[in-house]
């Protein structure tokens, strides 16, 4: 196996609040090989988005990097001087955000916002950059890109805006694309188009994807490997196929059981979807022992007292549970 | 929880001003109006006259202390009138909508188009100087902010479940407005009233300074400054102390309003500006 493109080791992200420091994300490790797609799944508030921001080096107070290493092609990202880190951002690691309306500057044309990438990273002047922005829009299949470059974000539909975001992110053919819930804010019919487009373009450019979503179904379709996060930790990591067939962690089971299946009612009759009772604990109030124990049906005394250590699974998988299997 | 410095400092400043006003007859050392003695005219600050004396030999300290009564009363009462008018109009306009809303909104826009001090000045010109005229002129001219705020808040609350429920239960409109809606929008309204009271004190001072507000010899801080202007060369202390009194009272109210906003209306930030 070749050296991974991105390697995250024992990442800790601290949240400081009222003079105290909390571990918003702890002991998170994963790696992505060139051209690979890794899915990162979890409910909102589990720490997946801030993990992405940490990889981008974009954590802002009250969040900060509390420990661990993030390396890109073997080089530690956070030891870079700020100017070097900036050159990495956008050029080698790019990011797409959840809400394409607010993620674009409302007062600037989409053409200019794409062109900025070429000005920043290739030293192009504005007119060259604008020409290349037209090309970039054409690549993301926006109709009549020559006219669209002059549009402002509010003149485009949600799907079109997300295409613009993809165009920005992939403008400099980055090695890694972080997609943070890229389809959540979109209509269901548009979601599939955006995901297909993203995959297609990344495959063509050889770009690896870190796909962040709360939608296990979507992630399982897109990715070869899936990591499930809960309350700031990775609780299970497996190949996508295995995770559906043999989920090891009770939380993963819960996520799978809560997925509606098309046609299930015809086959199995009317059934309730399973929800996971309770809510994700706040960062400032993580339970002791296993963090999932208050919501877990299998929890026993040991779960409340002892923090489960990761157990290796075949093919580089892992699970973090006292009663896995 | 951060230390709410502006709330406490503002509260302390304003409370001091109010206490001084309430205790004026006790803590004043001279009569503010009739203790004139030309032998003592324009004395600089001393132990006997800590803030000095004016052209008629009256004690500035006692006049500033008594001035607190008039200035604060006018400021607070005028703001109460503004709040009552504004909230009543805004609440009913937002709740009932229709032609009434159009009328109130039109009126609000008209009020916003005329600078309020100019409007107050016009009313003072007609009514003539005096305490009651001041209350009318200031109380009728700056209600548009609380009206707009109340209306906007009611519009956003109107569709919420508990208001609908109250309506289905057959509560009267007035009962819904004053027992269901008003308590829920009170926070931002208190903030805007606190800041508005500071504005009213400043407006009173300005009108009295022009000679259209409180007439001499009765001391309001504005009218004292009006007298003092003539003697700025010979007796600058006449100008310094009443001005400081206005400044401290208004600063207290502004800080208090900022502090209250952090607590009562955290999402608004600078809406009032």
């Amino acid at each position: 196996m070749s050296a991974p493109l991105l390697d995250v080791e024992n990442l800790r992200i601290s949240l400081s609040q009222g003079g105290k420091s909390y571990g918003a994300v702890e002991d998170v490790s994963f790696s992505i090989a060139s051209g690979e797609t890794l899915g990162l799944v979890g409910e909102s508030g589990c720490g997946k988005s801030i993990t992405a921001l940490a990889v981008m080096g974009l954590l802002r107070p009250p969040l900060s990097l509390g420990g661990g290493r993030i390396t890109l092609d073997g080089g530690d990202i956070h030891n870079l001087p700020p100017a070097k880190l900036r050159q990495l951002r956008g050029k080698r690691i790019a990011m797409i955000f959840q809400e394409p309306m607010t993620a674009l500057n409302p007062l600037s044309t989409v053409g200019r916002q794409i062109a900025e990438m070429f000005v920043l990273h290739t030293g192009a002047n504005w007119s060259e950059a604008t020409d290349r922005a037209v090309e970039a829009l054409r690549q993301v299949q926006v109709p009549s890109p020559e006219r669209r470059v002059k549009d402002f974000p509010h003149q485009l539909s949600g799907g079109m805006r997300q295409r613009v975001m993809i165009a920005i992110a992939l403008a400099c053919s980055p090695d890694l694309l972080i997609a943070d819930e890229p389809t959540t804010a979109l209509d269901v019919t548009v979601q599939a188009e955006i995901v297909d487009l993203m995959q297609e373009l990344c495959a063509a450019k050889g770009t690896a994807i870190l796909m962040i979503s709360h939608d296990l179904g979507l992630v399982a379709n897109m990715c070869r490997r899936v990591a499930v996060m809960y309350a700031g930790r990775i609780v299970e990591q497996q190949a996508a196929a295995d995770i559906f067939e043999r989920p090891q962690h009770p939380y993963t089971r819960g996520l799978i059981a809560s997925l509606p299946r098309l046609g299930a009612r015809i086959v199995h009759g009317r059934q309730r979807l399973q929800e996971i009772s309770g809510v994700v604990p706040a960062i400032t109030a993580f339970p002791t022992g296993c963090r999932f124990s208050p919501r877990c049906q299998r929890a026993t005394g040991v779960c409340q007292s002892d923090d489960p250590q990761p157990t290796p699974l075949p093919e580089n998988g892992l699970v973090r549970c006292h009663h896995h299997g | 929880m951060k230390f709410r410095a502006n709330l406490y400092i503002g509260g302390a400043f304003f409370a001091t001003a109010v206490i001084v006003g309430v205790l004026a007859p006790v803590i004043a050392t001279h009569d503010p109006v009739f203790d004139a003695n030309l032998m003592n005219a324009e004395l600089p600050p001393s132990w006997e006259y800590p803030f000095g004396t004016d052209a008629q030999g009256r004690d500035i300290y006692s006049r500033v202390v008594h001035g607190a009564r008039i200035s604060l009363t006018v400021g607070l009462v005028a703001q109460c009138i503004n709040s009552i008018i504004g909230v009543t109009l805004g609440l009913t306009a937002g709740y009932w909508g229709g032609w009434w809303d159009d009328l109130v909104s039109g009126l609000t826009n008209l009020m916003l188009a005329i600078p309020s001090l100019i409007f107050a000045l016009a009313i003072m010109a007609i009514l003539g100087p005096g305490l009651v005229s001041l209350l009318i002129a200031l109380g009728l001219t700056s209600w548009s902010y609380s009206c707009r705020l109340a209306r906007a808040q009611v519009l956003s609350l109107k569709s919420q479940g508990y208001i609908q429920a109250a309506r289905i239960l057959g509560y009267s409109d007035l009962r819904i407005m004053f027992t269901q809606l008003l308590p829920n929008i009170l926070g931002p309204l208190i903030v805007i009233a606190t800041l508005g009271a500071g504005g009213s004190i400043l407006a009173e001072a300005a009108l009295s300074f022009l000679g259209l507000g409180i007439r001499p010899p009765y001391p309001s801080w504005g009218s004292m400054l009006s007298d003092a202007r003539e003697q700025i060369t010979t007796a600058p202390w006449l100008s310094i102390f009443p001005g400081l009194a206005i400044f401290i009272s208004v600063l207290g109210l502004n800080l208090l309003g900022d502090g209250l906003r952090d607590i009562l209306d955290p999402q608004s930030r600078e809406r009032t500006s």
Partner: protein, 310 residues
Amino acid sequence: MLAVLLRRLLNIIPTVGAVILVIFVLFSVIPGSFTSTGAEDGRMLDPQVMERMRKEMGLDDPLLERFGRYVGHTLVGDLGKSFRTREPVTKLIADRLWPSLKLAIAAMCFAILVGVPLGFIAALKPGSVVDSVSMIGAVSGLSLPQFWLGLMLMYLFGLLLGWLPSFGYGDGGPRYLILPALALGFNPMALLARTTRAAVLDVLNADFVRTARSKGMAETRVVTWHVMRNALVLVITTIGLQFGSLMGAAVVVEKLFSWPGLGSLLVDSVFQRDIPAVQGCILVIVLFFLVINTLVDLAYAVIDPRIRYA
């Protein structure tokens, strides 16, 4: 753009109409207007003179007729004759307009040029010494009575140090303008500093700023390319609204500095019960405010495409 302008101008018409009505009602309908009382010092006018004036002004005609006449004259720019000088009010106002404009513009320029950068710097370093000092300064500035500040400036720079003339219009040169403009501009400056700071902090937290950072943009570029224009939209609203209170305050500051502007004309006319002049001044001040607000809306449309294409 033209559509925005036309729409705004159309919106002004009912407001102007309502203002004319209010002014007419205030000064012509409410009893106790000038004819029934004496002059400021208690001197009563000769009844015969008063009778002649009533006739001349048509004050005994039916109300509606008077209102119609007032509206008609106002619309063609005839604001009547001053009771005091017997000159047309339009001429009185025209003489005072330029000094007033000069003072208002100077004060607003000071407010914008100092307040906006101050708010910007404060927002870029929240919690820093610059931030704390400028925000304490701002809330203090908002609490200062302008005329008192003017009085203190007059005393300090005019009388004590003798650097600048302490009052009057003089030759209309900038030396005479400085002190009144400072006194008038300090309050809006303080407010602009606060608003700018809040606006910039707001924009700095926006998603698109995060996007800009994720593009690998240096913080200075993030600010100049993406934060400034967005914050400006919020700041411009405040500038427009501030002109209203600025014109109110100008009355007091002009009077304090004996500045020959509309404000002091208004106050003098009030004391002399020169009703046509009072009416004219108020109308012109309101019109000026409305024009400013229209310009602000246009500035909006220039900056914000969402309004331009609405």
